[in-house]
Amino acid sequence: MKQFRSMVYPYVGWIAAMIVLPMLLILLYAFTTPGNDVATFRFTLDNFSRFFSDSVFLAVLQRSLLIAVLTTIICVLLGYPIAYTIARGSEKSSMFWVLMITMPTWINMMVRTYAWVGILQDDGLVNSLLGLLGLGPIKMMYTTFAVVLGMVYNFIPFMILQIHTSLTKMDKSYLEAAADLGADRMQSFLRITLPLSLPGVLSGITLVFLPAVSSFFIPKLLGGGQYVLIGNVIETQFLTSGDWNFGSAISLIMAVIIMLSMYITRKVDTDPATNGKGD
């Protein structure tokens, strides 16, 4: 049993250096003031008070959360019927559709997002089609619509796949029992399928919300330079203005918000009233 045990030690050293140390550096920078010397740093909460006292940053945070929540809601509302439709088919056809959903995610995210620029342009595909109907042109590029669309496009596969997995894992005999007991299709969907697939919805929510909050290239490509989300602020602090202390503090704030929302989501997941067991 003890053979091979030592093979883990190099990895322990590696994660200490490459994962733990960088995280500690973020903490260190977030709670200190800019200084050139490591020996002279002092503890401060200035970076945090600067963020929370500036209405511009608060507006950015609010907008980021709003867009992430909006993206997540749209992903649930669109993703659920799609996953449900896929799961209703035979096993073979389900596998085919799952592959069709997964395939685009293997193609570079940046490349796929860039494609929307041409489609949403003022004289682009969508507006040309609207023009044929005598409508438009509608300005879509560099708006919240374009940013949310880009996020939904990139992240909805995670939602569909999570819900699909939980739907296929479901014990079908519950539905037969419900039918035997006289439930109609609507009743058995609301009382059985929906509650049993909720864990999939919840893990889908985490998988969509997390990248949506922190995303910074989707707002830049589709929202333009003026469209700033929290990820863009962090990018600017690190790569343009060089204020690593402030940048670390912002990413810490973001990480805490994400952790809190994940905690709440898990709490809902284990709550007996929502996972169908307490009914």
């Binding site: 049993m1 003890k2 053979q3 091979f4 045990r5 093979m7 883990v8 990895y11 322990v12 590696w14 994660i15 490459m18 994962i19 960088p22 995280m23 550096l25 973020i26 920078y29 019927p81 799609i82 439709t85 799961a87 209703r88 088919g89 035979s90 559709w97 592959l99 959903i101 395939m103 685009p104 293997w106 193609i107 570079n108 995210m109 940046m110 490349v111 796929r112 860039y114 494609a115 620029v117 041409g118 489609i119 342009q121 004289d123 595909l125 496009y153 079908k172 997390l210 990248p211 909050v213 922190s214 910074f216 490509l221 962090i234 990018e235 690190f238 940048g247 670390s248 990413s251 990480a255």
Partner: protein
């Protein structure tokens, strides 16, 4: 559940496919465009492909992307597999701690991992470039390898390796001939995840690179500020390569299955 999909279901699936594949088809179409426009198609031409192959920074970015993806896949797969085997035989406390830390890069937003690594590399005084990008890729790929190998190890009988050792095999022989073949599916899927993670990565690479070392994602990001249809040509090339690879991965098992059925 197994019913025929009605018109509503077919409509949902049709619209979904349109939503997913329209941008991809759009890129492919406009890579053959006769002019710079991204919105009007003015005749067929291959000029953007010629420009792409003539563009040194583009070809370099493709080269770096493939090189880093291959290297980080090989290294993180080997490293992760060995660590997972060691981990499966370690004490519970160590195992829990390592598993928790291992999950951090998977659960953290990528931008947090990225700035952590950026500060780490500059604290060490390493100049940013190919080396830092490779190290960063190994760092975020290895946890996925461990996550896909570990479940296979859990269902493995530890007595088999011990038996091999009792029968006179060296630890290396026991590893290669007894353990690895049994966890091979986990290793292969871990390697596939590592390769795609590395090939697609933008955020972490963007923060830890320097000295003009770019990968495809960084290139698209920096080039997208002005209209450059060569990006479409490059994207089409990637789409064709990945679709071909996926087709091979998915179709080969089907053909094998059919052949074995015919026998």
């Amino acid at each position: 559940m197994e019913q025929k999909r009605g018109i509503g279901g077919k409509l949902i699936l049709g619209l979904t496919m349109l939503f997913f594949y329209l941008p991809i088809l759009y890129i492919i179409l406009f890579s053959f465009n006769g002019t710079r426009s991204l919105t009007h198609f003015d005749g067929f031409s291959l000029q953007w492909y010629q420009k792409m192959f003539a563009d040194r920074t583009m070809m370099e970015a493709v080269g770096y992307t493939i090189l880093i993806a291959v290297l980080s896949t090989i290294i993180s797969t080997t490293f992760g597999t060995l660590a997972a085997i060691g981990l499966s035989r370690s004490k519970r406390v160590l195992r829990n701690v390592v598993e928790q830390i291992n999950n951090l890069p998977v659960l953290n937003p990528e931008i947090v991992t990225a700035i952590g690594l950026l500060m780490f590399f500059s604290a060490l005084g390493v100049s940013k470039g190919f080396g830092t990008m490779l190290l960063a890729h190994i760092m975020f790929c290895t946890p996925y390898v461990i996550l896909s190998v570990s479940p296979k190890l859990r269902s493995l009988d530890p007595n088999l390796a011990d038996a091999a050792l009792d029968l006179g095999a060296t630890p290396f022989q026991a590893l290669i001939k007894v353990i690895v073949p049994q966890i091979l599916p986990g290793i292969v899927s871990g390697a596939l995840i590592a390769f795609t993670m590395s090939f697609d990565d933008f955020i972490i690479s963007y923060f830890v690179t320097g000295n003009g070392v770019n990968n495809i994602s960084i290139l698209v990001y920096t080039m997208s500020k002005r209209v450059n249809p060569s990006i479409n040509a490059l994207s089409t090339l990637i789409i064709v390569l990945i679709t071909a690879a996926l087709a091979v991965v998915n179709i080969v098992p089907i053909i094998k299955e059919r052949r074995s059925k015919h026998r």
